[in-house]
Symmetry: C2
DNA sequence: GGGACTCTTCGGTGTGGGCCGAACCGTCGG
DNA sequence: CCGACGGTTCGGCCCACACCGAAGAGTCCC
């Protein structure tokens, strides 16, 4: 009984159009200022401030005051997973082909994007498939990195082994993609791969949002490292 | 933008105390009548009827009219996972010991319960641990049944192999437990194990809710099959 | 110090929606 | 055919809350 009211309170945080817009924007994993979010959602600064207060109090967001700015960010990977889990319920028509399902404005997002801290979209799925095809990732029942997979991350990809150790966070996790309706690699390994690809300049962000694109150097590198042909992705 | 309003609409379905109560009750996976839910939540029949209309229209519940009764049920395992995912966010205090965290009224639930269609609570975690200890389940990175695990399910446990084939549903999945704060086995395999243990009479439901208890025969069988000592569970 | 800027606080307004009771409709059983 | 019962529909009430503008607090820069 007590639990149901807590559940309702949590859901109510996301049950408002403006707050939902904030949270979806914040799914890019970066920090936004209160003013940016107000403009994005089309509400006044005072309204945005009240909403952010509720989201922070509810534990979905964390804030950092810096000068006259209030930066907010998702409180952690679990919040991001929660949001993507909810978003995954919003595409109840798996019948139509992907080319029709994705509108032109979101075409770049469908090609490749960050999902909180890992890669999603066709790029995320393609990398996941390539890892599975080379025996680096076991997707038969749940997602699990093979020992070859761990070696590949720390060897050719150049992730340091200590970056793959975490107290609590699972190494590999499946995250359901709402444009592809397929699982892609999340968890600590997914986040580190995304970090690494951004750091090497193999992928880069488009504009200020979640969309990412693969650079020519990245296309070549992924072909060498993963036998991955990304030419049809664009 | 369009997506955010859909997200808000979905969250709003769960953002009401009464509807949240309904959904948590329905997490036992069984069908309830409208009147039962109204009594449970302490609202009038007319109010309950309106809430159920919204939950069904929103795709969270499915209904079956039978005589003068309206039976409702969660629309599927994905809805159940969504709910448990939200509930998992409600225990943000992992510091206190479990014995203090669980109130007396929910002690039976903490011992063992069904989580939609699989087992949770200390029982669910104990079985998951036992499977892992015997090499039947790989929990190192994500959850994955080993081939020994599949053999054990279809052999000693007596699940027919075709019951373990599904078009879409993953065989093994990790489900986070809100009393134990540990993962336990969900997915198709988790559901079949629960079915089987109920069918053999090794576990049985307590009253009309989600709590289950292990019978003496079940205690003995699980000791034999899994080296699992359940005497301290009660 | 003064002006520009970001954000917060506080009244006040309007509306969405949760709730109930009363009336009504179907179903079941005698 | 009638009463009991489960569920639905409708009208009305009322509260929660999203929203804004105005005023104010804090920060930055000239």
């Amino acid at each position: 009984m007590a639990r149901s009211s807590e559940l309702a309170a949590l859901a109510r945080l996301l049950g408002d159009d403006t707050r939902a817009r904030f949270c979806l924007a914040l799914l890019d994993g970066r920090a936004w200022t209160a003013g940016e979010l107000a403009t994005l959602a089309g509400v006044s600064a005072s309204t945005a401030s009240e909403h952010l207060g509720k989201l922070v109090a509810g534990g979905l967001l964390v804030e950092r005051r810096q000068g006259r700015h209030r930066y907010v960010q998702l409180a952690g990977p679990r919040v991001a997973e929660l949001l993507e889990g909810l978003v995954a319920h919003l595409e109840p028509a798996p019948e139509r082909p992907a080319s029709l399902r994705t509108s032109r404005v979101s075409a770049a997002l469908a090609r490749g994007r960050t999902c909180y801290d890992h890669l999603a979209g066709r790029l995320g799925v393609a990398i996941t498939d390539a890892l599975a095809a080379r025996g680096l990732l076991d997707t038969t029942a749940g997602f699990a990195l093979t020992s070859d997979g761990v070696d590949w991350l720390t060897g050719p990809l150049g992730i340091s082994p200590e970056d793959l150790r975490s107290s609590r966070r699972p190494l590999a996790k499946a995250c359901l993609d709402w444009t592809e309706r397929r699982s892609h690699l999340a968890g600590l390994a997914g986040a580190r791969i995304c970090d690494r690809l951004l750091a090497t300049g193999w992928i880069k962000r488009i504009g200020t949002h979640r969309a990412v694109t693969v650079t020519p150097a990245g296309t070549e590198a992924l072909r060498t490292l993963l036998d991955l042909d990304l030419t049809q992705l664009q």
